[in-house]
Amino acid sequence: METALPNQPTQSAPQITPNPAVPSQPTPEAAAPPSTPKGPISSKLLLVVGSVFVLGIFIFGFLYVQSMRPATQEPAPAITPTEAPTPTPPPNLSRVATTSAFGAFGEEIASYAATLDAFSLQDSTLSPPILDLELGLVI
């Protein structure tokens, strides 16, 4: 059995009346999913990544082209002949140089130097024989 309290106004429960069906129109806010609310940031990120990518391609291309180019040679310095301030006088042959003894002396020195240069003191044919000493007998 149900009894009503005295200080409590009685109120009837509101009744929900069904609204007439209104065709819902899609709004831009409603179209975006609620979980991705950062649309402008994403596009900025894409822009940065793209520009870095393009810049990288440019740098790579530049380096590639640089590496393929032949090395530039430095221009050879131009040789400018210097003028001798005083020309060297031709040497005069001494009186001794015209003698046959001097010619023989020159030949003697040339022969001495050539023979000594060509001569090897360490003659390989002189290496002594290496002979076996032990007979290897166990007597």
């Binding site: 009186r95 003697e108 000493l133």
Partner: protein, 266 residues
Amino acid sequence: MKRFLLGTFLIVLSFGLIAWPAQASSRQAYQDYQYQFDVYRQRLSDYRVALNQYQQFKSLAAQQDTVEKVKLYIAQRDNVAKTYFLFLNEKLSENPGFGASELSTYRPIITNQIAFLDQNVVLAPSIASLEDAQTVSEKFEANYEIMQSAYRQLIIAIELGYLNYFAKRFDAAVGHAQTLIAASRPDSSAQKQAIMDRWLLALSNKHSLYQQKANTIRSTIPKIVGDVQQQDRLFQQVQTTINAARQDLVEAGSYLKELETALKYD
């Protein structure tokens, strides 16, 4: 012109004929030594095979075969050593830097060693057992250090002989230079004379340096005795000194060239 060419040809030919026998005899001796060494290797190989057979089977036939092979081997070992000394003897004989007195210093080394080897080789045919072979071989082994010492002493002596030869040529060239300097002195300025004198002094100093090294080498030769390792050490030391002495002579040659240029012009 034809006569001149013919004369030159005959002079060159006569020099060649004079020089030929000396070179040919040492070459022949070297070929003989090489041949004997080849035979030695073969005899050694045969002996080792026979010894191996004997040690495996211990048969009387194998023992007899080993005795025969060891006789041949021991005799050939003496022969190789002897032919090597004969080759060194030829090298000494044809060396242009030796006088009779120096030859008489080094020849006895060869004579003594050949005498020993001749004595040893006649023992080989009398070997009748492996014990005999051991006894004969021990005599060779006992002489081995002395023989090695003889080899090394003679090799150094031959190299010193060649150095002496070049030193003699150098002395002759310096003598001719002094004659030319004396002839040019009346026409030369004081400055040029001073240059010539300085070159002569430099040549004299270089000759002294060479002579000191040559004396060191000569005095070291008889010291190459004793233990083979000690001999080797001294031998290497002397080789270094020989190279330094040769370098002195080369530098002296360049001084002579400078002197020639100084003499050539006023």
